[in-house]
């Protein structure tokens, strides 16, 4: 929902970033306000995933120019964990497996770390269990998921649902979903989308990075951005995504 007067959550200006000495982002501008849903689309190698990792602070990427402001704070001076505690969440394209660490233990530690940050009470395991039993309904997960090691032996769809479960527990201000739809069958896509939609409010925002228009049928964007060659080359509404689906990306690349 677009409201021009709502609060700016994220403001990125002329962002340049490189990995291994190669410049990938070559001047990205993006403004995200509370209550908005953005989609960033583009071909492989256009810089979409790099953009999300740079915002989250992945150590492999170096910011070489430009700025990003998150709720009035300079984002790039913050450590990755500080960005997370400030309310920036990244749902990973390839969620990692953490052998030996149970899902519930991870979620409780992450949740209590945030509670501390916000000056709120930590939850003990029993109190947290009450909370988590509600949250897993959002992603239609079985309680047995909580006792399993994080992502270990999970199917592709289960891993992505697990990411959304983490989002549901942490309730971030800004969630970046990095190709959350890739590798999902239609049922899992429906569950994940429903989960994300139920978490949307006037106080938070979502940026979806995706190849396909399909996801946008379920989570309807206010803005669609097309990324190419490390820049956003076109911004439109959801109609732009449909046009991309029909015509591909080449016409935009020529134009750019």
């Amino acid at each position: 929902m677009i409201k021009q007067d709502s609060k700016v959550l994220l403001e990125v200006k002329n962002l340049h970033a490189s990995v291994g000495g190669v410049e990938i982002l070559k001047g990205v501008d993006l403004t995200v306000r509370a209550g908005e849903v953005h989609a960033i689309m583009g071909i492989n190698g256009s810089g979409k995933s790099t953009f999300s990792k740079v915002l989250a602070g992945h150590p492999d990427y170096t910011v070489t120019g430009g700025s990003a402001n998150f709720e009035g704070k300079e984002l790039f001076v913050l450590e990755p964990e500080e960005r997370a505690r400030a309310g920036l969440f990244l749902a990973f394209q390839y969620p990692v497996e953490i052998p030996g660490v149970s899902n519930s233990a991870l979620l409780r530690l992450a949740y209590n770390t945030l509670q501390n940050e916000r000056g709120l009470e930590e939850l003990d395991p029993l109190e947290f269990d009450d909370l988590i039993q509600e949250k897993i309904k959002i992603v239609e997960m079985d309680g047995s998921f909580l006792d399993r090691s994080v992502n270990e032996g999970f199917s592709g769809g289960e891993k992505k649902r697990n990411e959304i479960l983490q989002m549901a527990v942490l309730e971030p201000k800004l969630a970046i979903l990095d190709e959350t739809d890739s590798g999902l069958d239609i049922d899992a896509l429906r569950i994940v989308s429903k989960g994300v939609n139920s978490l949307l409010s006037q106080d938070n925002a979502v940026v979806m990075v995706t190849h396909y228009q399909r996801l946008l049928n379920y989570i309807v964007p206010d803005y669609v951005h097309v990324m190419d060659g490390g820049r956003i080359v076109r911004t439109g509404n959801k109609e732009l995504a449909l046009e991309l689906e029909a015509r591909g990306y080449d016409w935009l690349r020529v134009e750019a």
Partner: protein, 478 residues
């Protein structure tokens, strides 16, 4: 490894201080004269001197073993001080008489030497360099017939027991380092649990090597008579020196019919610095004999220190239905090397053994599990379950597994499982992205990985082990 992570790895060694106490050392080097001098200083009976000399003569004929997956410069056995004891030596009747400097050392180490011991219920026998300083709780334990004292004291007070059992599990010529130990051992702990007695408290020793260039050769002998049980804790630290120190101990456990011995170690010898300079060479022979029917010996170890760890706490399952267990966490970082594991020798019928080994390698370290499960032809119905898991942290460390299974009886059941996992920058970034800092992330990963072993540690050791592993690994990922 990124710079930030590097910094976190380089946690200084907390126990690296030298206690400035005058020590009385015999000259460097080894000869029959040195052995006679040690034996004489300790006012030992003739038979023990003969035991030492026989071991020494055997040792002279032996070659230093080279089969372990570790590398180190040749050890000059003539460049080691074989006996060092704090001076002046006098009979101590209470803790107040212990040298205040020594007391401060123990305070720094966190050894519970005074009032808090009463609350923790731990009896401590402290081995400082080679002399047992004091054995607490002795009188209380003596009331129910338990003997817990320094090895030297046992030699004088209970020579018949020492003579009967010394070398009965690890013969003096068993291996190169056991022979060396048998020739020059200076002190250690002795523990005897009489028939039918369940030791009411955990017994604990604390080893510490203080003199630069000294070797520590202690000897531990634990005997559990019929239907008795005991839980024994061993903690180890050493100060920081640039030279390597040799620690070649021998531990012998004997369990008679229906007896139960649980032996736990948290080992934090100085591991050398980040460039591999200094640190302890920990070449130890630990072996338990389940001599009686239904007896049980359980080893639990958390190995975090030493430049080189080379040991295989083992069980000889002689009595029918006897049980051997080995639970181990071995962590190596920087340039540490560990070649550790166990041997389960099934001789009796329906004997059972269980091996849970967790190896964690970080930095440029090398960590090997080496195990032997042997079932003899008469060990009908023997069972073994082995699980060996390795975790690699970062991209420059090494983990190896060398399991050997030798089964001579077709009714035996042997299971072996192994796994390898890797913790890298991606996992750490995931934790960071969920707001969790690297210290907590590592501690969570390690606790998860090691929980099958930690549950077997006594409570206070489990807490210490968790902290120790976290400290040793801080920032080693990336």
């Amino acid at each position: 490894m990124s710079a930030a992570l590097q910094n976190l790895v380089n946690q200084p060694y907390k126990h690296g201080f030298v206690t400035d106490i005058e020590t009385e050392a015999v000259p460097k080097g080894l000869s029959e004269d040195v052995i006679r001098m040690i034996s004489n200083k300790k006012e030992e009976p003739e038979w023990l001197l003969e035991f030492r000399l026989e071991a020494y003569r055997h040792w002279l004929t032996m070659e230093e073993p080279a089969w372990a997956n570790v590398a180190h410069p040749t050890i000059d056995f003539q460049d080691i001080i074989y006996f060092a004891q704090p001076k002046p030596k006098k009979q101590l009747s209470s803790l107040d008489e212990v040298d205040p400097e020594l007391r401060r050392t123990f305070d720094k180490l966190g050894v519970p030497l005074h009032e808090q011991k009463l609350m923790t219920g731990v009896a401590v026998d402290v081995i400082f360099d080679s002399v047992s300083v004091t054995t607490t709780y002795k009188a209380k334990l003596a009331e129910i017939g338990i003997i817990f004292c320094s090895f030297s004291e046992a030699v004088h007070e209970h020579p018949e027991l020492v003579k009967q059992y010394l070398g009965s599990v690890v013969p003096s010529g068993d291996n190169f380092y056991a022979a060396l130990n048998s020739a020059v051992f200076t002190d250690g702990s002795f523990c005897f649990i009489p028939k039918g007695i369940k030791c009411p408290m955990d017994l604990s020793t604390y080893f510490r090597i203080n003199t630069e260039g000294s070797g520590q050769f202690e000897r531990t002998l634990i005997i559990a008579e019929e239907s008795s049980s005991v839980c024994y804790l061993e903690g180890c630290t050493a100060p920081q020196f640039d030279t390597n120190q040799l620690h070649a101990a021998v531990v012998e456990l004997i369990a008679l019919d229906n007896a139960d011995i649980k032996y736990s170690t948290v080992q934090n010898w100085y591991a050398g610095d980040e460039n591999g300079v200094g640190g302890i060479y920990n070449f130890v022979t630990k072996r338990g004999l389940c001599k009686g029917v239904n007896s049980k010996i359980s080893w639990t170890q958390v190995e975090t220190g030493s430049a080189i760890t080379w040991k295989y706490p083992s069980c000889i399952l002689l009595g029918d239905n006897s049980i051997g267990e080995f639970y181990s966490v071995a962590l190596t970082n920087h340039l540490q090397q560990a070649d550790t594991g166990t041997k389960m020798i099934h001789l009796g019928r329906n004997t059972r053994s269980k091996i849970i080994s967790k190896g964690i390698s970080a930095g440029r370290s090398s960590n090997s599990y080496r195990g032997l499960v042997k079932v003899s032809s008469r060990a009908a119905g023997a069972r073994n379950y082995s699980q060996c898991d390795s975790m690699l942290i970062g991209g420059r460390c090494e983990a190896s597994t060398f399991p050997t299974i030798d089964v001579q009886n077709t009714s035996a059941t042997i299971e072996h499982e192994a796994s390898t996992s890797k913790i890298g920058e991606d996992q750490m970034f995931f934790f960071a992205q969920r707001g969790i800092d690297s210290e907590e992330a590592i501690s969570m990963i390690i606790n998860g990985f090691c929980k099958d072993v930690f549950v077997h540690l006594p409570m206070e050791f489990a807490v210490e082990a968790t902290k120790l592993l976290g400290l040793k690994l801080e920032g080693s990922v990336g």
